[in-house]
Structure formats: C-alpha cells, structure tokens
C-alpha cells in the first residue's frame, strides 16, 4: 500500500517535470483587463492553433508588464498606457509598437450618485465633484494603465488625492478594485470592458463617459532581443502580427456582442493614431 503510494507520487513527479518548458513558448505580458474581460480566452487559442506557438499569458498591470519587458522576461506586450509606452520605446526596449484596439474608460459609482457626477460635463469635472463631496474613490494604485490614466485625470483636475481619506488604493486588479468600490459604495475609474463583464454582480452604474480624455488605447509591443538575447523575438513578432491581422481584428470587433449586446473593444489596426486623437 505504502509502496504503491510512493510509486504513484514518483510517476506524478516525473510526469510533471517532463511537461516542463516548451521550446515554442511565447510569454505575453498583458493587462488584467484583457484577461478579466475574457478577450484573451478567445484570441489566444486561435493564435496557438494558427502558429503552433504556445502562449504563456501573464496577466498583470501595464506597469508591471512593461517592467517584465524591460528585463527581457516577456516576448511581447499587450498594454494600454500610451505615455509609459512611448518612453519604453524611446529607451530602446521594444522593436515595434502597433495600434491594436481601443475602448474607453468610464467612471462608475452607486446609482444614488452622492457626488452628483452625472451632471458633470467632463471627466475632470466629475473627479472634482468626487473630491469636493469627499465620496469614496477606489483606485487601482498599481501603476497599471488604468491607474496611469487616473493619475493624469487627477492632475488635470489639479487635485492630489494621495493623502485624502476618501481616496483608497486597492493595489489589486480591475475586477477586484470594482468589487471594493461596489462594496463600499464608492466611485472608480474602469475600462468599459471589465465593467460590462462584471456588471451583473456589482450594482454600479456608469456615471461619466464619452470624454475624449477617457479613451483607452491598446498597443502590442515586441521586445528588443538585442538587449536580452533569450527573448523569443520570432514568437513575439508572430503574436504581434496576429494581433493586427484581419482575422484577429474581426474577432476583436465581434467579441462581447452576443453576451453584452455591444462590442467591448473596437479594432484599430493600421489606423492612423492621430484619428484617435493621439
């Protein structure tokens, strides 16, 4: 009995070890929104089937994803933090950066809207109203693309919320931050895709949207193998090419329509960034 048990364990061990590194693995570092919305569950299998590569998706904030790229620990990035991305490219960490898709950020909160942000004409004004009323605001606080956008907006409003009591940094992903905001009846800035995907459990509504400053733009970046020779540049390139291919772009445009009645992302490959106001 005991011997048999040990044998089983040994077989399991060997089994687990042999299923180790795949030569064709591509490490994709990306934001939580692409995973939490379910988009990658649609795109990745299609890419794997077409290319023969195996994708290892590491879903973190855009800030951490770019750090992984800087250290050569990822082969390709799918991120949404344009200012940080430009710096990333200028520093020579990436070989190519291409526009993939966009959606938008929205400010969500309890339907009762204690800060009356629904009446505000811009995102910046909405934040000003939240600050003035001292209503709770849940921030990602994790250097993600969403957090970066939020910081730009606060700056635009001329407010430094960091030390304020009503400003709470969760340090969590988008989904969990929304849960915190919902639980505490506070406000949060979120990408529309994650919000729509989670809406059913939240009891929150969109209170500010449509401002051009709330645009959320995703780029795919290939990592420069010159700095880190171990980077799988070919695999990264294949994934980036796939993301801007007609087939993938069509899938992005279709994603979410059947579940939410509206697309969660809008394909942009090949478009002039200026047309998005960049």
């Amino acid at each position: 009995m005991k011997k048999c048990f040990v044998l089983v364990l040994l077989v399991m061990l060997l089994n687990a070890v042999s299923s180790g590194a795949a030569p064709n693995a591509v490490i994709l570092a990306t934001t939580t929104s692409t995973q939490d919305s379910g988009l990658l569950d649609v795109l990745i299998p299609a890419f794997e089937k077409e290319s023969g590569y195996q994708v290892k998706t590491i879903s973190v904030g855009s800030g951490q994803a770019m750090k992984m790229g800087e250290k050569g620990e990822a082969d390709v990035l799918l991120v949404h933090s344009p200012d940080a991305e430009k710096k990333f490219m200028a520093d020579g960490f990436g070989t190519g950066r291409r526009l993939v898709m966009h959606n938008d950020f929205v400010i969500v909160g309890p339907a009762s809207d204690p800060a009356k942000i629904k009446e505000s004409v811009s995102a910046v004004e909405a934040l000003k109203r939240i600050a003035a009323s001292g209503s709770l605001f849940a921030s990602r606080g994790d250097n993600s693309g969403t957090h970066a956008k939020e910081k730009t907006l606060w700056k635009g409003a001329g407010i430094n919320p960091e030390r304020e009591k009503w400003y709470q940094q969760t340090g969590l992903g988008m989904g969990q931050t929304l849960n915190v905001a919902a639980e505490k009846k506070g406000y949060a800035l979120t990408d529309r895709a994650t919000f729509l995907a989670l809406k059913k459990n939240l009891g929150m509504t969109i209170l500010a949207e449509g401002d051009s400053r709330l645009l959320n733009i995703y780029h795919v970046i290939e990592i420069n193998p010159v700095k880190w020779p171990k980077v799988n540049a070919r695999g990264g390139r294949a994934f980036a090419d796939f993301m801007v291919s007609g087939k993938c772009q069509e899938a992005i445009g279709r994603f979410g329509i059947s579940t939410y009645g509206a697309p969660l992302f809008f394909p942009d490959a090949g478009r002039n960034p200026a047309s998005l106001g960049l």
């Binding site: 040994l10 089994n15 687990a16 299923s19 995973q35 989904g175 969990q176 849960n179 459990n201 880190w228």
Partner: protein
C-alpha cells in the same frame, strides 16, 4: 445568501457534469502539490532526523531557522523563486518559469521546513531510553536511525499532512511562479482568485469547495493509514 447557495449548486453541477477544464485544474493541483510534498519528504525526513539526533555546533541555530521556515510566507517564496527562475536570473537556464515544475519547486520550498520541523519534534519525542536500548542491543548507526524513524512513523504522517495541507492551499507562490496560465499552470487556488477577479463568485465558490473536498480526501486517506496503526 443566494450567492452561497448558487455557488454550492454550481459546484455540484461542475462535479456532476465532470467539466473538462475543472477536472484538469483539479488534477494539476493534486499533481503539483503531491509532487512537492514528496520532494519535501525526501529532503525533510533525513535532514530532520539528522538534526534531531546529531550533535554539532550551530544545531540550535539551524533548528530555529527550520522552525521559522515552518511559517514561510508563500508570496515571499514565490517572489524569490520567480527572480531565480527568470530567463536572465541565476537559474534561468532551467527554463521552467511558468511551468508546473516551477510550481513544484516553490511548493517544495514551502513544505520542506514544515516536514523537517515536525520530523525533528517526532524523533525527539521518542523515549530517550529507546536510543540507548537499541544501541545496547548492538545496532549499527544506520540501524538505529532506521528503527527510530520507524518508531516515529505515526507523527511523521502528521508531517505529510501538514506539508500537503500547506501547499495545496497556498496561492501566492503558485500565482507568481506559475502565472495562472489556462491549461498549463492553472490550479484550484489561482483559478479561485481569477474567478473572483472576474466577478464569477459562484464559480469561485465551486472551486473552493472542490479544493476543500480534495484536501479532505487526501487527509482522510492519510488519517486512515495513521489511525490503523495507532498504539493501543
């Protein structure tokens, strides 16, 4: 309350329909944690026995370190194992980051001090006279160690349970070194975190229940073995 009932119903549904993805996630959890426990036994029982029986300078210091290690936070282990396994890290040539092997490694690091610590305690709790008696009967050193370990086998099973319990339930290290990759390194705990993030609380509750059932099953098996042989 509805949510909890929904979760339990979803769990039953997932188990009853034998959902392929859930089954794969459950199997991987079992595989990774059993392997890690096995590695920790191979390392922990001999070193625990040595620390319990041998006499050398620095022994108390090492035992204190082992006892501290019994409470090693999984995220700390995860962080260090990740940094070591990075492509450009000291162990990058292994190329096992984001694979089950990396998760086994990290979990073994968590479980080994637990197994070692309980082994030390078990061996030392044997009657002191036993050692003298065995030696008086002319046993070699190797025979002595063997007899003592055999005598301590019941508390040692507790070491197995504690080690396994420690690793099957941890999420910090598995998430960091495994990456929660669908179909490759997604285990019950990391999937629970992800489903919570996605707001699928019913699925998250279902996965937690499966995890509890699994932990109970393994411990029940070990307890049966342990209690069958209990001294009367």
């Amino acid at each position: 309350m509805d949510l909890i009932i929904d979760g339990i119903l979803t769990a039953l549904q997932l188990i009853a329909s034998f959902d392929g993805e859930v089954a794969a996630v459950t199997l991987l959890s079992l595989k990774v944690s059993c392997s890690a426990t096995f590695v920790s036994l191979v390392l922990g029982i001999p070193s625990g026995t040595l620390l319990a029986l041998a006499n050398f300078p620095g022994r108390r210091f090492i035992i204190s370190m082992v006892n501290t290690g019994m409470g090693l936070p999984p995220v700390v282990v995860g962080l260090f194992v990740t940094i070591f396994l990075w492509r450009n890290g000291p162990l990058g040539f292994l190329e096992i980051l984001y694979t089950p092997s990396a998760m086994i490694l990290a979990q073994a690091v968590i479980a080994t001090p637990i197994v070692t610590g309980i082994t030390i305690a078990s061996i030392q709790s044997l009657p002191a006279n036993l050692k003298l008696q065995v030696l008086a009967l002319g046993a070699t050193r190797f025979q002595l160690v063997w007899i003592l370990v055999r005598e301590a086998r019941l508390p040692l099973l507790a070491a197995v349970m504690a080690g396994f319990g420690g690793v099957i339930s941890e999420v910090g290290a598995s998430l960091m070194v495994g990456g929660n990759i669908k179909g490759q390194t997604r285990v019950l705990t990391t999937a629970t975190v992800m489903e919570t993030g996605k707001g699928n609380f019913d699925v998250a509750i279902a996965l937690s229940l499966i995890l509890l059932i699994l932990a109970f099953g393994v411990n029940y098996l070990l307890t049966v073995i342990q209690q069958r042989e209990r001294p009367r």
